[in-house]
């Protein structure tokens, strides 16, 4: 199957994605600089916010508008978990609430664990030069 590169690089969706993704990161940066929150706390805030906005159906609008600009930030990870849980409930009721979220995010979680283990096998931490 041939890839239509003009479609892949059509600039309007990419621009929307760039701007929305960048703006979400600015929110994170303001939290870092103004609140002295640790990185772990900021990631938790993002994933939880994403899950709640996803559950309320609000985040879906952002995803429709900006694509990866909304799904790549961790809010998108939360949205994905919430969406998965809701779909799980639709399919199989209460059990789906437990399996749906992790199922939807399984690829990312498994990849992070696997690559993390792999990196620790072959690489060693180094001093920050700066």
């Amino acid at each position: 199957m041939d890839i239509d590169w003009a479609q892949v690089f059509s600039w309007m969706p990419l621009l929307k994605c760039f701007i929305v993704g960048g703006l979400i990161c600015i929110v994170g940066q303001i939290l870092i600089d103004k609140t002295k929150l640790t990185p772990a706390r900021i990631l938790v805030i993002f994933v939880t916010t994403g899950a709640i906005l996803g559950g309320l159906g609000i985040y879906q609008y952002l995803v429709d508008f900006a694509g990866a600009g909304a799904t790549v930030p961790l809010t998108g990870f939360g949205y994905n978990l919430a969406k998965g849980a809701i779909e799980g409930v639709k399919e199989m009721g209460i059990i789906g609430a437990f399996t749906g979220g992790v199922k939807a995010a399984a690829g990312g979680i498994a990849a992070a664990i696997f690559f993390g283990y792999l990196a620790s096998l072959i690489s060693k931490p180094k001093m920050k030069k700066q």
Partner: protein, 158 residues
């Protein structure tokens, strides 16, 4: 003697004095860097996603492929001791996208290798990212349950 006010008179006074004495982070510069690096990472994700769509994958699978590729890249750069330099420059720009999640799993795995593969790498891998999964997954389960309760009472939420 004693021309200036003593900053140590009260704890509140000292905290205010310290806040005013301490330099702030260069927030405009940081936000600018976070914006374009974060935007760029998302755009790379969008391009991957577009290619996936052309190849005939559905949206959910495309999203998973994007996550896996970005996580793989972030893990690779962390292993090469490069990601921390990007993070220092971009701040939230590389932390907030899924790359930051990957980095927060890979970096303790590497750091605690010296304590062995089981308790070090395995045990400490989630010291930074663990809370993300705990809160993310818990929130999703709660949302699923709430959705179910509302739906059985035929109130449509989504």
């Amino acid at each position: 003697m004693g021309t200036n006010k003593n900053p140590l008179e009260t704890k509140e006074g000292y905290q205010n004095y310290v806040d005013q004495k301490s330099p702030n982070s260069p927030i405009w510069k940081n936000c600018f860097n976070a914006f374009w690096v974060g935007g760029l990472i998302c755009t790379i994700g969008q391009i991957i996603s577009n290619i996936c769509k052309q190849r005939g994958f559905d949206i959910a699978t495309s999203g998973t492929i994007v996550s896996i590729i970005l996580i793989g890249i972030a893990a690779f750069l962390t292993g090469l001791n490069i990601f921390n330099k990007i993070g220092k420059f971009a701040g939230a720009g590389s932390l907030v996208p899924i790359t930051g999640f990957a980095n927060s799993i890979v970096s303790p795995a590497m750091e605690y290798k010296s304590e062995g593969y089981v308790m070090g790498v395995g045990g400490k891998m989630f010291t930074v990212a663990g809370p993300v999964l705990v809160f993310g997954i818990s929130a999703s389960i709660l949302i699923g349950i709430i959705y179910m309760i509302f739906n059985t009472q035929s109130i449509t939420l989504v």
